[in-house]
């Protein structure tokens, strides 16, 4: 089954990528008083990324579900076909 070949990048992924790029591009001023420690900063970057991912997931949850249903080959049930089968 072809999942990702020959498909256009979905709007979902494009928006997520743009959001990430925007977040990385804008720098905040550094404060001299306290050294935040690189380990902590990297962790916060990860948590920000996960949080961003959660926001995107929540927004597009419905579309995400539909996407996976298509992939797994589940066709929506058509009542007309069921009736025909019973006859």
């Amino acid at each position: 089954m072809h999942l990702f070949t020959h498909t256009k990048p979905s709007p979902l992924l494009t928006r997520a990528a743009i959001a990430a790029a925007v977040m990385l591009a804008w720098s905040a001023p550094a404060y001299a008083y306290l050294d935040p420690a690189t380990g902590s900063v990297l962790l916060q970057g990860l948590l920000a990324g996960i949080a961003g991912l959660m926001v995107v997931l929540r927004l597009y949850w419905g579309r995400l579900k539909a996407f996976f249903r298509r992939c797994l080959g589940r066709q929506p049930i058509d009542p007309a076909i069921v009736e025909k089968g019973k006859q």
Partner: protein
């Protein structure tokens, strides 16, 4: 800086803009009214004379009667301090204000209630900035709590030795695998330590990645971090709720309740006469006699004990019964020393003396018998801590002392009532003596100039 009974702080020109904009939001006034932050009052620069010359502003704070440090606090006190810090920070963020650090030394206690004292760490929040205090919060609040909650080890000795707290990298090495199953532990300890290690393994000469400096934390994620920590820390308790030897003493001790009543009555009478503003209760156990002293007329009692379980009970009792009592961890054989830059930043126990009065009940034999300190040294030290107080002498054949000698040779020929009285009379006047137990325990009320 201290000037008499006042505490003043200067706001220098480079910090003036932040000072002004945060005060304009009104957050400080609100936090003070809620009792979360210490009162701050702007005063005239002239108050400080030459010292205030270059300041943009000078502010005044009420002076607290006793200063204590995170390495002296019990588990629940540190927990309450951590929750207060997070609460203050969350409320600040609502008004576009943030805290520039997360030091545990920014919190002091009034009785058993924590209060945030560093009003100059408020500054405007810049959208997208990371939580710069996160590592410090972990080192100074979270990790010491986890040391006790996950491993059952009290934080006091380690924290006192490493004044800036328990480093993430070291705690990460100690954690059992079962602890790592928690996403909270994984985030704040394991991952943070791992990222720190990764970043220090960079090739020598390589500049710290520009991308790290540009990392953003969206406001919602910032709030989520603080809220998540708050909810998690609220659930932390000492591992196994351990019973330590002396904690149950208050319930199963070799006193009958008649004797406990006599002791309490003696202490109340003493407190009513002495009316100490500051009482030190050495060997406070669960705070029973501090409570009696407070009822009698003492204003504030600082309890000292080395038994972790007893301290937790004393602190929780002080909170529940609204007693003006702060129990602190102290091993009298090794009291807190002066520490920090030039050994002046954090005062030792001696530097915070004298008290107005002391209690030393069921205490002397711990030093004179269990720890081999000569009896007259112990008495001299106690009497040196305050002009007046109550000291209990427990005979060698009393069950509590014979317990200490169970596995040892009795080398304490000099440990007896006559020698005790002699030592005490040499350095103070004995105002009243009363026998409180059938085994011959006696309370001595002393006074000196």
């Amino acid at each position: 800086m201290m000037a008499g009974e006042h505490v003043y702080r200067t706001v220098m020109p480079f910090a003036a803009t932040d000072y002004e904009s945060t005060r304009r939001t009104g957050i400080l006034g609100d936090l003070v009214n809620m009792g979360l932050v210490i009162d701050e009052r702007p005063v005239d620069r002239d108050v400080l004379g030459a010292a205030g010359e270059n300041a943009s502003y000078v502010v005044e704070h009420p002076k607290l009667p006793f200063i204590s440090y995170p390495y002296e606090w019990c588990f629940h006190a540190l927990k309450d301090a951590a929750l207060l810090h997070l609460d203050v920070h969350l409320r600040c963020l609502e008004r576009g204000v943030t805290l520039s650090d997360a030091s545990a030394y920014n919190i002091q206690f009034r009785g058993a209630t924590p209060v945030f004292i560093d009003t100059l760490s408020f500054r405007p929040y810049r959208h997208g900035e990371i939580w710069t205090g996160h590592r410090q919060f972990c080192d100074q609040f979270l990790n010491p709590l986890l040391l006790r909650a996950l491993l059952g080890i009290p934080h006091n000795a380690w924290y006192r030795g490493n004044m800036e707290g328990i480093p993430v990298e070291h705690l990460a090495r100690l954690l059992p695998l079962s602890a790592r199953l928690s996403w909270n532990v994984t985030k704040h300890v394991v991952l943070q330590a791992w990222f720190e290690k990764l970043s220090t393994h960079a090739k020598p000469g390589a500049k710290p990645g520009g991308a790290v400096k540009d990392i953003q934390l969206p406001p919602a994620a910032f709030r989520a971090m603080l809220t998540g920590l708050k909810e998690w820390i609220a659930t932390l308790e000492p591992k196994d709720g351990e019973k330590t030897v002396w904690r149950d003493y208050a319930e199963i001790n070799s006193y009958s309740s008649d004797e406990a009543r006599k002791k309490a009555e003696f202490v109340r009478e003493f407190a009513a006469a002495a009316r100490p503003s500051l009482l030190w209760d050495l060997g406070c156990n669960t705070g029973e006699y501090s409570k009696a002293a407070l009822e009698g007329g003492a204003l504030l009692s600082i309890g000292f004990d080395f038994d972790a379980g007893a301290l937790e009970r004393a602190y929780l009792r002080a909170k529940a019964e609204k007693l003006n009592l702060l129990p602190l961890h102290l091993d009298a054989m090794n009291p807190s020393p002066s520490q920090g830059w030039a050994q002046q930043e954090r005062k030792g126990m001696r530097e915070r003396a004298p008290a107005d009065a002391i209690l030393a009940l069921a205490f002397v034999h711990h030093l004179a018998v269990a720890k081999n300190v000569p009896l007259d040294y112990v008495v001299g030290w106690l009497v040196g801590l305050a002009r007046t107080g109550v000291i209990e002498f427990v005979q060698k054949d009393d069950p509590m002392v014979s317990e200490l000698l169970r596995l040892r040779a009795d080398i304490f020929a000099g440990y007896n009532e006559q020698n005790f009285e002699r030592s005490l009379a040499a350095v103070a006047r004995i105002r009243k003596v009363e026998q409180v137990s059938a085994t011959g325990r006696k309370l001595y009320w002393f006074e000196r100039d």
